[in-house]
C-alpha cells in the first residue's frame, strides 16, 4: 500500500516575467505588471510530495528530516533571498513563472530521491496561485 508524505518549506525571492525576444511594451502586454523592470517578489511555499511503500524496518516512506535537508540544500539555499532572473543560472534563459520554477525544482530534487519513490512538487507563488508538477 503506497503512502504519500509531504514536506513543506519556503523561500522569498524577487523575479520578473520577461521574454527577452520581445520589447518592454510587448512584455507588459503579455505579463502586465509582472514584467515591470525593477522586479517584484513573493513568499514562495514549496510542498514536496513523496509517494511509496513504507519501509518495513522503519515504517517510513522517506525520512522527513533527510527530505527537509535535501530540499534546503538543493532548493532553499539556491533560491532564498535571491533574484531568480539574475542570481540563478537555471533561469538565465527560462522565464521564472511558477510553472517553470516547479519544473526546475523537480529536476533538482528527482536525482536525490530514491528511484522507487514517486515525486511531485507543489509551488505556491501566493496563497491564491499555485502549480503542481508533474501534473
Amino acid at each position: 500500500m503506497k503512502v504519500a508524505v509531504y514536506r513543506q518549506e519556503h523561500f522569498n525571492a524577487a523575479h520578473r516575467l520577461y521574454n527577452s525576444a520581445w520589447d518592454q511594451p510587448t512584455n507588459e502586454a503579455y505579463f502586465g505588471k509582472c514584467a515591470y523592470p525593477h522586479y517584484h517578489g513573493h513568499n514562495y511555499d514549496l510542498v514536496v510530495k513523496v509517494t511509496g511503500l513504507p519501509d518495513p524496518q522503519t515504517g517510513f516512506v522517506v525520512d522527513m528530516k533527510w527530505l527537509s535537508e535535501i530540499i534546503n540544500k538543493e532548493i532553499i539555499a539556491r533560491f532564498d533571498h535571491k533574484n531568480l532572473n539574475l542570481d540563478t543560472p537555471e533561469f538565465k534563459h527560462l522565464n521564472p513563472t511558477a510553472e517553470n520554477i516547479a519544473i526546475v525544482i523537480y529536476g533538482l530534487l528527482r536525482p536525490r530521491i530514491p528511484e522507487d519513490l514517486d515525486l511531485q512538487v507543489r509551488l505556491y507563488e501566493t496563497p491564491r496561485n499555485f502549480v503542481d508538477y508533474p501534473a
Partner: protein, 136 residues
C-alpha cells in the same frame, strides 16, 4: 467606538541596505536581505480605522471606500514594484517593514474623513513576520 479593518495585499521586491555602509557591513547587519539583486515578498496589509458607527448607515466607514483609498494611495504604488527603486514615499528611507508601515500610515491618514481615525497599520512581510504601527 468600533474598529474596522480592511485587508489588502501586494507583492514587491526590496533589499535592506544602508548606503552609508559598505557591502560587507550591510551583509553583516542584514544578512541575505542585503542581496544587491533584491528579493521579495507577498505583503499583507491590514488597515484598521475607528469611529462611532454612523446613525443612518450603521457604518464606521464605507469599507468599499476604504478599500479604494488603500488601493489608490498604497497598493497601486507598491504592487509588483521595487520598494527601494520605484516608490516615491520610500525614497531615501530604509525599506524595512517597520518603516514601510510608518510611511503607509502617513500616506493614508490625510485621505480619511474627519470623523474616522486611523488606528493601526498591520503589515505582514511573511506569514510569520509582521509589524504594527499605531501612529505613536
Amino acid at each position: 467606538m468600533v474598529y474596522l479593518t480592511r485587508q489588502e495585499h501586494f507583492n514587491a521586491a526590496h533589499r535592506l541596505y544602508n548606503p552609508a555602509w559598505d557591502e560587507a557591513k550591510n551583509e553583516a547587519v542584514f544578512g541575505k536581505c542585503a542581496n544587491p539583486n533584491w528579493h521579495g515578498h507577498n505583503y499583507d496589509l491590514l488597515v484598521t480605522v475607528k469611529a462611532k458607527p454612523d446613525y443612518d448607515t450603521g457604518f464606521v466607514f464605507d469599507v468599499k471606500k476604504l478599500s479604494l483609498v488603500i488601493r489608490e494611495h498604497i497598493t497601486e504604488k507598491l504592487d509588483h514594484r521595487n520598494l527601494n527603486e520605484d516608490v516615491d514615499f520610500m525614497r531615501g528611507k530604509m525599506c524595512s517593514t517597520e518603516n514601510l508601515a510608518i510611511e503607509i500610515w502617513k500616506q493614508l491618514e490625510p485621505h480619511l474623513p474627519g470623523n474616522v481615525q486611523l488606528h493601526c497599520i498591520k503589515l505582514y512581510e511573511t506569514p510569520r513576520i509582521y509589524v504594527e504601527y499605531f501612529g505613536e
